[in-house]
């Protein structure tokens, strides 16, 4: 395998973007990435997208996106792994370049969620329809069950959950691309509307529109496009049982753990080497479970990290400096690429007020369903 670098990124603002269609969003992000690298050609495009067929009635996104980017002719495919679609697209692009198949590849992610579809129902199709959907469960409901199990096993409290939201909003307030660029107080979180006990509205990531794109090439060609490339040191993906009921411990995300083990092995690093991480906080409890499964904190102790300041900017291991899915927004297919962009900017020293000083190695983790799929990438300043 050839060493692979990310050389440029582009990203729309995240939010309810009524003026923009799915294709507008993709073209905005992709054009920005190409312009930043002064690149005018591509060998391949991978578009991460969960459910354009349901959200806007549009399938076959590969040629649609290539065409509207003015690149009809280029190999282009849509990649789907529910909310981990962006991470999976990055992994496909990484393999495409590492294998020698292509030299310049765009890994993008896009989701248009506010064009009238019933978002909760669309997202629920990432759960097992026969075992879970049939009975009336929702995604907040599935993560609420994970939260309840974590509380029962480890003594996690509602205040611990709320502390994750407060931290991520504090980070998001520093991110001009964020859907909710404002802070929230603990009391505001803890008295917000109950959605699925014990998860409240402010424990849930929002419904968002947005697109992101990164440009990948072999490391030894990277200086053609940028003087500050970021190397992809490791990529890991894993799956778990589709239905939450089939996990021995509902509070332990085994696919996240396994994807991390694989990424660490490929990168030749350990959890203690990670200096900044973006993890999949679709709900506050998810961040708690993910940092445990990634080995950033000890199993069972994830709930202590946000209240102690350990995972805040300035803490031992800053997590979700972008604001996370909670504050930055969660256009599901775009999220995995957005996470990689945050780490890319952190490692290049471009993160502004969110900068983790001297960060050289960072991690991003993107998850689908109730944790049935997970993708981890480990990046390093080249």
């Amino acid at each position: 395998m050839r060493p692979v670098a990310i050389v440029a990124a582009g990203m729309t603002r995240f939010g309810e973007l009524w003026q923009s269609s799915l294709r507008d969003l993709f073209v905005e992000a992709a054009s920005e990435a190409l312009a930043n690298a002064r690149a005018s050609r591509l060998d391949a495009i991978f578009v991460g997208n969960m459910a354009a067929g349901q959200f806007v009635g549009q399938e076959h996104l590969g040629p649609l996106c290539a065409d509207h980017l003015g690149m009809a002719g280029v190999a282009a495919t849509r990649i789907e792994s529910a909310c981990a679609s962006g991470g999976a697209a990055l992994r496909a692009a990484f393999a495409e370049v590492a294998s020698g198949m292509s030299d310049l590849v765009l890994a993008a992610g896009v989701e248009k969620m506010t064009d009238g579809a019933e978002a909760t129902a669309v997202l629920a199709t990432a759960a097992d329809q026969e075992a879970e959907g049939y009975q009336g469960i929702t995604f907040p409901g599935l993560y609420a069950m994970i939260a309840r199990a974590h509380m029962a096993a480890h003594g996690t409290t509602e205040q611990d959950l709320a502390a994750v939201t407060v931290k991520n909003h504090r980070h998001g307030a520093l991110n001009e691309k964020a859907q909710f660029g404002r802070t929230v107080e603990l009391a505001e979180v803890m008295t917000s509307t109950m959605v699925a006990d014990p998860l409240r509205l402010l424990h849930c990531s929002p419904v968002s529109d947005g697109a992101c794109a990164v440009l990948l090439c072999p490391l030894d060609q990277a200086r053609k496009y940028t003087d500050r490339p970021v190397k992809i040191r490791g990529s890991g993906m894993a799956t778990s049982s589709m239905a939450l009921a089939d996990r021995k411990d509902p509070a332990w995300l085994d696919a996240v753990h396994e994807s991390a083990v694989r990424a660490y092995a490929m990168a030749g690093v350990e959890p203690r080497d990670i200096q900044v991480a973006e993890v999949h906080d679709c709900f506050s409890i998810a961040e708690i479970c993910c940092i445990e499964a990634l080995g950033l904190v000890e199993r069972g102790l994830g709930a202590r990290a946000a209240p102690s300041g350990e995972t805040a900017l300035g803490g031992r291991i800053p997590v979700n400096t972008s604001g996370g899915l909670k504050a930055k927004g969660h256009p599901v297919g775009a999220t995995g690429i957005a996470q990689a962009i945050e780490i890319f900017e952190q490692l290049r020293g471009d993160a502004g007020k969110r900068q983790v000083k001297g960060a050289r190695i960072g991690l991003c983790q993107n998850m689908g369903g109730s944790g049935a799929s997970s993708v981890v990438h480990i990046l390093e300043r080249a």
């Binding site: 009975q135 009336g136 069950m145 939450l244």
Partner: protein, 130 residues
């Protein structure tokens, strides 16, 4: 839901039919071709006991459109004595009473009704035992 899809699922929805793997003994619900524990393919048909214990639970307060009239409702992952686990609604009780460890029985109930003139869909719901 198209009627063939509904009809295919009747054995597990109505009778809680599961498969016991003849190689490793795991009880798989609903039945599958391949055992998720040992990849065995030889199963003996069995039915789950109509009782179990709540493993984890929640109260869904923003239900999907088809369940709008029923919200808020409790849902739980229930483990039967055969160690099979299933996702079910918990009914006929205070929402607050549903907690991990709660013993329940599984009762045959209507689960959902599909639109105008659509199929009435049945299955099992949990009720606190005793």
């Amino acid at each position: 839901m198209p009627s063939p899809r509904y009809w295919r699922e009747i054995p597990n929805r109505y009778r809680l039919e599961a498969g016991r793997c003849r190689r490793c003994g795991k009880v798989v619900f609903p039945q599958r071709r391949v055992c998720p524990s040992c990849r065995g393919e030889d199963f003996e048909k069995t039915a789950l006991s109509r009782r179990g214990t709540v493993v984890t639970c929640t109260v869904v307060r923003t239900p999907p459109a088809e369940f709008e009239m029923e919200g808020p409702f409790a849902m739980a992952v229930v483990e039967t004595p055969e160690k099979a686990r299933l996702m079910v609604q918990v009914v006929d009780c205070d929402l607050e009473a549903v907690r991990p460890g709660l013993p329940v029985t599984l009762e045959f109930r209507r689960v959902r009704a599909e639109g105008h003139g659509g199929i009435l869909c049945y299955g099992h719901k949990a009720v606190p035992a005793g």
